[in-house]
């Protein structure tokens, strides 16, 4: 057998063991005895240190699989063992409120109280006494150039600008509206997001960015026509290879498209 083939066999064994550990593959799907036999056959042919190291990793991986088999058996024989499929099916037919009520019945929340300690008070006092007066900080407060930045959905929720329910509702409404009005034929990006005011245009493009990121809308860039076509999907889907698309929304850009109507 060629060196390359030997290496491939050993590497495949290592990968298989790794998938039991990381992806929760049923450890009994691994034929440990057969694979150990295979490694035993290959062992006399291994000469290089690198090959021996691979062999060692494969044996260690198989030992790990045996450990997983033992844990699996222990779990299955315990009172907690239930058919995972049965549990999943049960949960799929339950309403969120029913699931939440079940959680409440087995939940014993931790009590935790926020408190202020002398050391925190001291830190606060130090900060306050060392803070320069407003007159000295005038330039810093008034003269600072505003930098553009990113704000996440979570930050907006924390600031109270947007609640999670409201955000979900807005996205769903926009998606449904698109499905109804545009359908599979698609529409030019600017035609869809451009509104009567610049603020509304920014808002619509912001919503669109989430619909695209979550796979509810498909994007097609047409470089020759200098256009971007967006199409609502009937069911959300993720692209195999995520890509980044930057669409700047400037006031000038908005005016240009608004004039076009």
């Amino acid at each position: 057998m060629k060196v390359k083939e030997k290496r491939e066999i050993i590497e495949r064994i290592i990968d298989l063991c790794e998938s039991v550990r990381s992806r929760g593959l049923d450890p009994f799907d691994v034929q440990v005895k057969e694979l150990l036999e295979k490694l035993r056959e290959l062992f006399p042919e291994l000469k290089k240190l690198e090959e021996l190291y691979l062999d060692m990793r494969a044996v260690s991986g198989l030992a790990d699989v045996i450990l997983h088999q033992s844990e699996w058996l222990r779990h299955r024989s315990s009172v907690l063992y239930l058919d995972p499929l049965l549990i999943t099916l049960k949960m799929q037919v339950m309403e969120p409120a029913e699931l939440a009520e079940i959680f409440t019945k087995c939940w014993h929340p931790i009590l935790e109280m926020e408190s202020i300690s002398p050391s925190v008070l001291r830190t606060g006092l130090d900060y306050w006494t060392e803070l320069p007066p407003l007159s000295e900080r005038g330039a810093e407060l008034g003269g600072m150039e505003l930098q553009t930045g990113r704000i996440t959905e979570e930050e907006l929720r924390e600031m109270g600008i947007l609640s999670e329910e409201e955000f979900s509702r807005i996205l769903e409404e926009e998606w449904k509206k698109m499905l109804q009005n545009v359908g599979k034929r698609g529409i030019s990006y600017w035609k869809w997001v451009c509104a009567k005011t610049f603020e509304e245009t920014v808002r619509r493009s912001w919503i669109m960015s989430f619909l695209i990121s979550y796979g509810y809308v498909d994007v097609e860039v047409r470089p020759l026509e200098e256009d971007i076509i967006i199409r609502p999907r009937s069911k959300p889907a993720q692209e195999a290879e995520p890509r980044t698309l930057v669409i700047p929304i400037t006031y000038e850009e908005w005016r240009k498209h608004a004039r076009k109507g």
Partner: protein, 182 residues
């Protein structure tokens, strides 16, 4: 009991209550070594006495095993469970509780760990993708879930402290347990 001893015990009880009830770090409760350092060699007796006091209020001291025994976390939890109607006022969303229930049950039914992507796939059949992702992240931050470098999800320390795993699975399968409310 001499008066001096009694005063000392009362002082240790208050110190133990402060350590367990007030947040000192980012996470609640106190570690075993912290209790030993603050309460002395007989810290376990002090904790037992505190537990007896807390029982009158419907609370209990729970120990969450974490690595070596010195790192065990002592926390105060509800002895029973809260009423469903009250939970709405705790700042929890119904959907979030449902997502956590499904995640924990799936992990438990599959032997203690599940690939994060797999959980997301199961949850996305019932909830919008953006809600699932943000809820999972939040539960990891809160300590209900733990994620390793490969994206595999496990039960977190907070689940082990707060959730009665057997009751959760029994209730999901419709085997009602004799209820104990707060």
């Amino acid at each position: 009991m001499p008066e001096k001893d009694e005063v000392e015990i009362r002082q240790k009880l208050s110190r133990a209550a402060q350590l367990l009830l007030f947040k000192h770090h980012r996470e609640p409760g106190a570690r075993r070594w912290e209790l030993r350092r603050a309460l002395g060699r007989n810290y376990e007796d002090v904790i037992k006495a505190l537990d007896a006091e807390l029982e009158k209020l419907g609370l209990t001291v729970k120990v969450v095993k974490e690595g070596d025994s010195e790192s065990d976390r002592f926390v105060v939890t509800f002895r029973g469970h809260p009423e469903f109607s009250e939970v709405r006022t705790f700042g929890w969303r119904i959907d979030d509780m449902a997502i956590l229930t499904m995640t924990l049950a799936t992990i438990l039914a599959r032997g203690g760990k599940v690939a994060g992507k797999e959980i997301e796939k199961i949850l996305e059949e019932k909830f919008p993708k953006w809600r699932v992702e943000s809820a999972i992240d939040r539960f990891i931050r809160m300590g209900y879930l733990q994620e390793d470098e490969k994206g595999v999800l496990y039960l977190g320390w907070r689940t082990r402290a707060e959730v009665d795993e057997k009751t959760l699975l029994s209730l999901l399968l419709g085997k009602e347990k004799k209820e104990e409310t707060r």
